[in-house]
Amino acid sequence: MRLKKSTILVFSLTLAVAILIPVLLRFVPYETRTHHISLQAKKYGYSPSRIVVNRGDTVVLRPTSLDVTHGFLLDGYPVEFIIKQQGLNFLKYNWKDDDGNLQTDWDKVSEIEFVADKSGKFTFRCTQTCGNLHPFMTGELIVRPNTAYHLFISLSIWLTLSLLWLFRVHSGPLFAGFKKINLLDHLPWLKRIVKLRSFQFLVILPNFVVFYLFILSALWGSPVGNRNIAIIFVWIAWWFVLKAVIVPLGGRFWCMICPLPAPAEWLSRRSFTAVRYLHKPFKGLHHRFTGLQKDWPKRISNIWLQNLLFLAMISFGIILITRPIATAFLFLVILAATLVLALIYRRRVFCLYLCPVGGFLGTYSMASMTEIRAIDPEVCRKHKEKSCYVGGEGGWACPWKQYPGKMKRNNYCGLCTECIKSCPKDNIGVFMRPFGSDRALSGYDEMFNAIIMLVVAIAFSVTMLGPWGFIKEAANVTESRQVIPFLIYLASLWGLTLLVVPGLFALTAKGAGRLAGGGINHRALTLRLAYILIPLGIFFWIAFSLPAVMTNYNYILSVLSDPLGLGWDIFGTANYPFNPFIPEWIPVIQGLLLLAGIYFGLSRGYLALGELIKDPRSRAMAMILPSLFALFVVNVLAKLYMG
């Protein structure tokens, strides 16, 4: 994409203004004063949960705990202390001894005083394992002027308006990206590996061993979440890697290596690696499987069930990710479900239609940078046997019920590589492609999936990253026993995901249709516009999961040394201290991720429209309301993270 000089000039000038306004706000005069705050710590929050001061103000805290021992570690400031009952606190201080080593001690104090000399948003976190939700016990110190946040608002508006303006004035192709590359051509070793019959078995095996050890650890290890390897590795390490690396780069790559349905598949095939090929097809496929060999009913061959199961799982999200036993239970239920379903149905019906994670992996894989596709569709068309779909001597029939010859989207391709092996024409490739390449949602089930993921990212940010103890208490029903608040929490979650936000989005799409000049199929337009939410959602989830790793990475190191929480110290890291990594930069990094979300959401959404609305003018008009919708949602999240 080549821009005109005048266009670049306008962008630069408006960008300068967008940066200048928040920077000038720093020079608005204000007075400094001293704040005396009695800070109460209680499972799992502080009161006040949000402290707002001006830069240069003196903050005098008088902390006390209303239940157990809590901690207080302020991001970006050298303030750390332990809070006990009756106003008894231990303030940490450091000094360098004669050998230059840092030494630490604690002083008993009743007041903690510091000067808020850095502006921005700073989170304070509990440092003492105080209960199930301990990792989410936080509060916020806002030191005005919060320039980073003002800059974000200004830049998000600038970016949205600039993109809209660009859609309007630019006539040539936009955001072209690179031409997709067949990795199997470029990397002969990769081709040799994926052609191996034992490939899937070998990539699943290590995961299989580790995952089932996690289940054992979840069942018999420490019941304290942040001391159990299952919780830490699944919900902190794996979740982050899945969201931030696997999904954007590899799409459903996780489905390729997922150990959960593996036993079911081995049982159903009665084989770990080999293909059992029948010359005479049975019910359309050249294989016979263990069990009843039914096909999944057509009526529910969509992801509605996944949407509902995901919401059901997320309703107990904070319990699931803090209680090892709940995680073990989830895995065992999935294991049982895959085994039972494999004995009734052919192919991977659990993964396709039920797996709560599979739903969003499919939707988000539309944007991912990897795809498995036919190299030349013409070759497929002429190939009568369709071995990829019905099974061949070299590979099983596609477990995901896909026909690569006509497959245009990543959604339901589990990247299992069977087709690469079964295709006698060697016509299947593994391609690297630009981010956000599949752009057509096929139905409202997928649109709802995108909306659910977007709202849940916000809801989790409120519940887990936010400073509000009462929301955590409501979500943490098994401990707090507060049924009514929990029901309100559930109603808000389900209402927002299934009614309010979809409703707002439908209105936005309707308005977009009007602005575009009418005559466009409403359903098609809505589904195309919903594509904006996919890159946006991916960046939302990265922005949500990143702080968990940056602040809690120490638990990863400690559970490696003491996987069952039994007091072992295998690598000497069992007592690695809680020491968040550059936590004062978290809001800024999150802001940058959200800006990237706007850019990729709007630009890819615009491309998605390109295939539906040919006239550039009405296409640009159709983008206005959805862009403002995206801007609004992004700013909701930015308010939570930065404001």
Partner: protein
């Protein structure tokens, strides 16, 4: 009779002290520390100096208990003094000491009540509370009244007129001219030792840089 004698002798001593004061001096100084949040609560004392053979019956030393804390954290007293231990907290406390200079255990007692202990041997007495493990304080039983406890800025003055006045210790003259050994004590700092010459012309000032470590005993 004895009362009269005492009055006369005190008056005589006071009279004597007038010319002495002209020829005597005090020691002032500043402490800086490495390894503590503040240079406060460091005891600075003269190891050998004239004792005070005065009546201690009007002298009141108090070690208070408030908000799960002993106040003050460090309390120097003259040997032979009685210290009051009022419980001004909302909960019961049980003050005890296992130190060689004075072993005692006051038992658990309720808010609003006071107990007393006589300290008759010089040395360090570490106070603890049976109920609250994190409570601790020190009573330093001193041979002579030439001491000071540093303030938040690390400053001190020996003898400490404010401290002596507060506790009702009267008639402590300034130090006669001569060489004195000054030592420090804090539970988390290495004891420092310095020889100071008091010239008899007002104040002798010096600085002390203290480091983290274990202190030694008060008197060898």
């Amino acid at each position: 009779m004895s009362h009269q004698f005492l009055t006369i002798s005190i008056a005589f001593l006071l009279l004597l002290s007038v010319p002495f004061q002209a020829l005597a001096g005090s020691i002032t100084g500043k402490i800086s520390v490495k390894g503590l949040r503040s240079p406060a609560n460091v005891l600075v004392y003269v190891t050998k100096a004239p004792g005070l053979s005065a009546d201690l019956s009007n002298v009141k030393f108090t070690m208070d208990q408030k908000n799960l804390t002993f106040v003050p954290h460090i309390l120097p007293v003259l040997v032979g003094s009685t210290v009051h231990f009022p419980n001004d907290d909302q909960v019961a406390h049980n003050v005890f000491s296992l130190s060689r200079a004075k072993k005692f255990n006051l038992g658990s007692y309720k808010p609003g009540t006071t107990k007393t202990v006589l300290f008759d041997k010089p040395g360090i007495v570490e106070l603890r509370c049976d109920v609250h493990a994190e409570m601790s304080a020190y009573i330093m039983v001193m041979k002579n009244p030439y001491w000071a406890v540093s303030d938040a800025k690390g400053s001190f003055k020996i003898p400490d007129p404010v401290y002596l006045d507060q506790h009702g210790i009267k008639g402590v003259p300034d130090l006669p001219p001569g060489k004195y050994v000054i030592k420090t004590w804090h539970e988390k700092l290495k004891t420092a030792k310095k020889v100071v010459e008091v010239s008899g012309k007002g104040e002798t000032a010096f600085r002390l840089d203290l480091k983290r470590g274990n202190p030694s005993v008060l008197y060898k």
